[in-house]
Amino acid sequence: MEKIKELINENRADIEERWYELILETYPPEAAAFFRKNKDQFENPVGAKISTGVIGILEELVGKVDEQKIAEYIDEIIRIRAVQEFTPSQAVKVFPLLKRAIREVLEKELEDKGLLQEFLQLEDQIDEITLKGFEIYQQCRERLYHLKVEEWKSRMYMLLRRAKMVYDEREGSLPPQQI
């Protein structure tokens, strides 16, 4: 994989830009224009987080792949998309878009048949990232449902407590069936 990684490294800025652009195209044009323009990480958190994820994932891909770190970068992008106007497949589509960005930027270089094996390996690696992305997407959605339940418990906290029905770490007591 050395040669293809080298090629990506040499063209990293272009690939980053193209991939970022392809991701922005999944948003309405007015929003994409704003995400692209404002570089302030606090005034434009969506643009900034996607950008951090894009740069980070590419950096990991060309270096030694650190599972933990790459998962954090995937999380940066997916945690946002899990609550935006996307279906699950649209949300994780950002990673297949990386394949497209690489193919487009390295179009000429990839004509070299000698690179085929390495290229296929790289695409496998991106598939793994996509699957990890789906896993994180699912965790985010599960978290939302968990939060709905937790919120109701907090909202009704005094009622549940007085009825001796709270059995979480706040009270340290046992579930009713175990008392």
Binding site: P29, F42, C140, R143, L144, Y157, R161, R162
Partner: protein, 544 residues
């Protein structure tokens, strides 16, 4: 001189792709679960006498609107344009400069163009133009005008309930257009045809009928607070007194009902109780005026005035001298901006608030006779009247969220920060463009803090959570203090999704943790637990 873009830069910045669909034609919106709040129940509307009570869902094709909805709403618009000069001005004056476009947290989180404040106002403005001006009638879409129809009513319902009335956009508007008031008008018009949400109207009904949003009856209010007093006794060894409906007391204390029912609001409530007991002032709570919050503000001006009036009625009945209000967000917008004109003048028995401990006269409240608990406490601290041990909050690295209404609605920035810096040793503000008047909303304000709206809440709360995450990573912040009951509930959930390492508290929870009672000073009973009944010191350190 400003940097001139080079020709190729200029060319690059031009987007040649036309929008897929003109915003005006993009109706009705595609309504999806997680992005709207459930409609008000039929019986609730009947009980409060609101129009068109019925069973319906925004997911249905037929919203069962009155056949003359268009006439009803156009009448409503004419009526409001006559009544409110601000509304008329806001509808006339916008030049579409776009300064507000990227300031809304819902737009920043969702990227939905109709969440740009300018466009949200345009949803209403275009109808006013199309229905009431000759230019609009004549030129139609060319003049940015359209006729009202059922699809547009659906669009309004979707987007006027995707605005948390936080007013961040108005800070950046060169004309000072308050889009929040546009949303208020939009919601009032929707009420006329029965399009409203249960999360707002059931609390309004509870407030009218029982006295507070949660519908807690007098004995429940009292018992809950007694329960909290037992908790305080466990932590401090002291018995607390909370007088209820006490005639002739000096101070009436009013706070949102979430403070004595929900977690983590209850710890803030314990904080108020401990402070008043420490000072030994003559105070009372009321089981009638048992709600500081006012969901009427999110409903209509009449509902807001009716709910607020209870506080003055009770202050008059009990014969108190002035009123202290707890840590609540929109409550303070009502007190600061509308109480005086909507329910004033204050009853004659009320006097200009004067701290019984320091003698400070709160001149700015001489008309409403009501002050914020943080003003009261900050004054006590400034006069050295509280014995505080900030090291008791050492396990917390604290930041402060300026709740939208106290900050933008009443310019309340310094008092809470002054208190926090005196009651804890580790305090760090978030970046400048995310606090004070530029603060980001929790994403759940104006009655949108309901669980079915979770996706939108998480999107809208992203800019706030993102700034918290920054100070968490930079300074190790693990506690987000705020002075709003909705924030305490909503930010807890928001943090759990975006920055789970950070907890949420009210300012007075931290005050009470740090407060050294006389017997503690003598070393009679050492405080080992905080109000959450957790060890005071960080793990690994013994309580000194």
């Amino acid at each position: 001189m400003a940097k001139m873009p080079k020709p190729d830069e200029l060319l690059k910045s031009i987007d040649w792709t036309p929008p897929e669909k003109d915003w005006m034609d993009d109706v009705p919106p595609e309504i999806k679960p997680g992005r709207f709040c459930y409609p008000a129940k039929k019986n609730i509307l009947e009980e409060i006498g609101f129009p068109n009570p019925r069973e319906w869902s925004p997911l249905d094709d037929d919203w069962k609107l009155p056949s003359n909805s268009r006439e009803i709403i156009v009448e409503g618009i004419i009526d409001r344009l006559k009544k409110y000069r601000s509304f008329k001005l806001f509808m006339d004056i916008c030049v579409r400069c776009g300064a507000c476009a990227d300031k809304c947290h819902y737009f920043l989180g969702s990227g939905d163009p109709k969440n740009m404040p300018v466009l949200r106002a345009e949803l209403l403005r275009s109808v006013i133009k199309g229905e009431l001006t000759w230019q609009g009638k004549f030129f139609g879409k060319l003049a940015g005008a359209r006729k009202l129809n059922e699809d547009i009513i659906k669009e309004w319902f979707y987007y006027f309930y995707q605005c948390s009335e936080c007013r961040r956009c108005s800070v950046f508007c060169p004309y000072g257009i308050d889009t929040c008031e546009v949303t208020m008008m939009g919601r009032e018009l929707l009420h006329l045809v029965g399009c409203n949400i249960n999360w707002i109207l059931e609390p309004v009904r509870n407030c009218f009928k029982i006295g507070n949003h949660l519908g807690l009856q007098p004995h429940t209010v009292k018992e809950n607070i007694e329960f909290l007093c037992w908790d305080i006794e466990e932590v401090t060894g002291l018995k607390m007194e909370v007088p209820f409906n006490k005639k002739g007391a000096e101070v009436l204390f009013v706070t949102p009902s979430g403070d004595y029912f929900a977690d983590p609001g209850i710890y803030t409530m314990m904080g108020y109780i401990m402070l008043f007991n420490y000072l030994d002032i003559d105070w009372t709570m009321s089981t009638y005026a048992s709600e500081g919050g006012n969901f009427g503000l999110f409903t209509s001006h009449e509902a807001m005035a009716k709910i607020n009036a209870k506080i003055y009625h009770e202050a008059e009945r009990l014969g108190v001298k002035f009123i202290i209000g707890g840590e609540c967000g929109h409550m303070w917008r009502v007190k600061h901006q509308y109480m005086d004109t909507a329910t004033g003048p204050a009853p004659k028995n009320l006097e200009t608030p004067r701290s019984p401990i320091t003698g400070t006269v709160f001149e700015h409240a001489k008309s409403t006779k009501m002050i914020h608990i943080c003003e009261f406490t900050a004054d006590l601290i400034a006069h050295g009247k509280l014995d505080l041990d900030p090291s008791r909050n050492d396990k917390y690295v604290v930041t402060y969220h300026d709740s939208c209404n106290p900050s933008r609605g009443m310019g309340f920035f310094e008092e809470p920060r002054f208190i926090l810096k005196n009651v804890c040793n580790n305090f760090y503000d978030m970046p400048e463009n995310t606090i004070r008047e530029k603060t980001f909303c929790c994403g759940s304000g104006s009655g949108l803090n309901t669980d079915e709206f979770m996706d939108m809440r998480m999107r809208g709360g992203l800019p706030r959570a993102n700034a918290v995450k920054y100070v968490h990573e930079k300074h190790g912040v693990n506690m987000l203090a705020c002075i709003c009951a909705i924030d305490r509930a909503a930010l807890s959930t928001l943090m759990d999704y975006w920055v789970p390492e950070v907890q949420v508290c009210g300012v007075h929870e931290l005050v009470a943790n740090a407060l050294v009672f006389p017997h503690e000073k003598k070393g009679e009973r050492k405080r080992e637990l905080n109000l959450r009944q957790e060890p005071l010191k960080p793990e690994g350190e013994e309580n000194a």
